[in-house]
């Protein structure tokens, strides 16, 4: 930092062009994140295996630790191999599909919204009951995916949710939480 303030405009210029290019490098090599995650997973599995109390009734060379150690080591190796592959220019091909348009950049807002809606439903299912949480899940997901029919979507969601509730709870005998009005009405 101190160096830059002392130096001439040329250096500052270089730094300016360097930053976007580093960002681009990181974006192009974002797959290294996968490698890092595999590494973390491997360390996690190995730690869990090594801190496990070994039971004395084990017979033979293979105990409760063996397979986790093999899997953990495998994860470390594959993390390293993947990193090398990415640095050499290898790229995982993103999955294509009929509904998928890869020419556009990923729409993170939709993904986060969708995951949030799902998580919300998981949280609300106990206090508000299945029909409410289910309807919110369906409507929320449809909304996140671009449906804006406010006069139709809530009704579709509600009917679907209540029908599913009735089928499971009343016909199949799988108890689902009914909501705050159960027992009040």
């Amino acid at each position: 930092m101190t160096k830059r303030t002392e130096s001439t405009d040329v250096v500052a210029d270089a730094a300016d062009t360097e930053r976007p290019s580093r960002r681009r490098w990181l974006r192009e090599h974002s797959e290294l994140g996968v490698s890092a995650l595999l590494l973390v997973l491997g360390v996690l599995v190995l730690t869990d295996a090594i801190t496990m109390d070994v039971d004395l009734t084990q017979r033979g060379p293979v105990g409760p630790r063996t397979v986790p150690i093999v899997v953990g080591a495998g994860l470390l190796v594959i993390a390293a191999l993947l990193a090398v592959d990415v640095l050499r220019g290898g790229r995982g091909e993103a999955e294509a599909g009929e509904d998928v348009d890869l020419s556009e950049p990923a729409d993170w807002r939709t993904v986060l919204l969708l995951a949030g809606v799902f998580l919300g439903a998981a949280v609300l299912i106990e206090p508000l009951g299945f029909p409410v949480a289910g309807a919110l899940l369906f409507w929320g997901a449809a909304f996140a995916l671009g449906s804006r029919r406010f006069d139709r979507d809530p009704l579709i969601a509600a009917v679907l949710s209540v029908v599913a509730y009735a089928v499971f709870n009343n016909l199949l005998g799988v108890p689902l939480p009914g909501g705050p009005l159960m027992g009040v009405l």
Binding site: P61, V62, P64, L82, R91, E104, L119, A122, A141, I156
Partner: protein
């Protein structure tokens, strides 16, 4: 020919109008419930158990058989159309079926699956009639070392579904193996990767993993890249298989059952491993190998026939030994006991009418399933016409219902979402999803059988190779591994021999 006469009597029982009605009802209900993601045949049979309380035992079991086959087929339907397997045995169907559906050949994929189920059920049930006592005796001889050898073979086979990048395929397999480690160690009861949570003690269910990776992962992935310029709707296409399709599928239809049936009959078999092995076999034998992964119809036909024949194999062990080899069989066994009937060696003598009625109704059920589902295939395929937001919202909704209904715990939904996010990441970075699911299925099985074999032999490694069966399998494994090296000399020798006479 005693069996044949008994079977004819059985048809007499099964073909009464009332029992036909129960079979049809079972097939319909089973299919309807089987299509829900996360609700497989075992759950379907368990859920519909109370429906049959009012029936006579024969009627009830005829209905069960219908539910079982129907649920297996239903699971494949969503697998093919929506890339959302309803159960773990239907995972493989998604591999080729879904690309077919996306290319507008959904109806053909469904027809190939339906006929595959029909062929598998017919051949499987015929084998059941002809071989039941023999198979049951053989099944008992298969022990832990043999299972482990089969697992090794299956692991070798995984290499052919790793996709274009070996490293990424292996990474996916290892993710699956890691997920499979979660839970209590089955041999010593030690907790592994549970982080002290009792909820994880029984591990993460394969169905949750499959639904999470496929259905939730798919929905999130589509959400990230949804085609905003609404492309034209996928054409539903012609509902029927043409000559070319049939030419490609008749062999897989006939091969699949012979892979599926034995696995169903052995105590630790099930339907997942044979569907997967059938897929790999078809891929190896196909003349259209380059189409695999992009919608090769053989990859739907073979595994589906294997799945259905495995269901027939399951009934062999259950009826003749009282030995439940899968969760469905365990539920059916419990149902038998509700009626005061104990399946086992004495069942054929004690309740001939029920057993042969049940077996005959398996044939009838298969015909009904085909008759119902072939015409329905184009209708099912129209599911893809539902506007995208509703379609994927529906997938998320039903996946949530399925996951929640199993245990009634909201935490299951959170686990499902986490696995879904993993599935999303895997799609983003080109990690194939199938090896992960195979890892979850194979890993715990392989470990358990390995450790059990060693435990039985009191820790001696020879306990792994002390049966003729396991040795045979290892020889096959060795040949498969050495094949790339042997291929040239063998081909040369063959050519040479071809030349000498001339």
């Amino acid at each position: 020919m005693d069996a044949l006469n008994s079977l004819l009597d059985g048809f007499g029982t099964a073909l009464t109008p009332v029992n036909l009605l129960w079979a049809a009802l079972g097939v319909l209900l089973g299919t309807a419930i089987g299509v829900l993601p996360g609700i497989g045949p075992a759950m379907a049979v368990a859920l519909l158990l109370p429906v049959t309380y009012g029936l006579q035992p024969t009627g009830a079991f005829i209905m069960f058989a219908g539910i079982y086959y129907g649920a297996m087929f239903g699971g494949s339907t969503t697998s093919i159309l929506l890339n959302t397997p309803g159960e773990s045995a239907a995972v493989v169907a998604a591999m080729e079926g879904n690309p077919m559906a996306k290319a507008g050949r959904g109806a053909q994929a469904l027809a190939a699956a339906a006929i595959g189920h029909f062929a598998g059920g017919m051949i499987g049930t015929t084998l059941l009639v002809a071989l039941a006592p023999t198979v049951a005796d053989l099944a008992v001889d298969i022990g832990a070392p043999d299972y482990f050898a089969i697992m090794v073979l299956a692991f070798i086979a995984v290499t052919s579904v790793l996709g274009s990048s070996r490293i990424r395929g292996l990474a996916s397999l290892l993710i699956g193996l890691t997920l499979g480690l979660v839970g209590l160690d089955q041999m010593t009861g030690q907790q592994r990767l549970t982080f002290g949570s009792l909820h994880l003690a029984d591990g993460i269910d394969v169905v949750i993993v499959a639904v999470g990776l496929f259905a939730i992962g798919e929905a999130l992935w589509v959400a990230a890249h949804l085609r905003r310029t609404s492309g034209e709707a996928i054409p539903v296409g012609r509902p029927w298989l043409d000559g070319g399709d049939v030419k490609r599928t008749w062999k897989p239809w006939l091969r699949g059952p012979f892979i599926g049936f034995p696995f169903g009959a052995i105590p630790a078999g099930g339907a997942e491993i044979p569907t997967f092995l059938s897929y790999v076999t078809e891929k190896r034998l196909s003349k259209h190998r380059d189409e695999f992964g992009k919608g090769a119809i053989e990859g739907v036909a073979g595994p589906e026939a294997a799945a259905s024949a495995s269901a027939a194999g399951t009934l062999v062990s259950m009826l003749t030994l009282g030995l439940p080899t899968t969760a469905v069989a365990a539920v059916m066994l419990a149902a038998f006991q509700q009626y005061g009937i104990q399946p086992g060696p004495l069942l054929f003598e004690r309740e001939p009418e029920l057993v042969w009625g049940l077996i005959a109704s398996l044939f009838v059920g298969m015909v009904l399933l085909l008759a119902l589902n072939l015409p329905l295939a184009p209708l099912w395929a129209k599911l893809l016409r539902i506007p995208r937001p509703y379609l994927y919202a529906g997938i998320l909704f039903f996946a949530a219902v399925g996951a929640y209904a199993v245990g009634g715990e909201a935490i299951d939904l959170v686990i499902l979402l986490i696995i879904g996010l993993i599935g999303f990441g895997m799609r983003r970075y080109g990690l194939p999803v199938l090896p992960a699911v195979i890892g979850v299925i194979l890993g715990p099985n392989a470990e358990q059988q390995l450790r059990r074999a060693l435990q039985i032999s009191d820790g001696s490694v020879t306990g792994l190779v002390n049966t003729p069966f396991s040795v045979t399998v290892y020889v096959i494994v060795a040949l498969l591994l050495a094949w790339p090296l042997l291929r040239k000399p063998v081909a040369a020798a063959v050519r040479k021999r071809g030349q000498t006479p001339s």
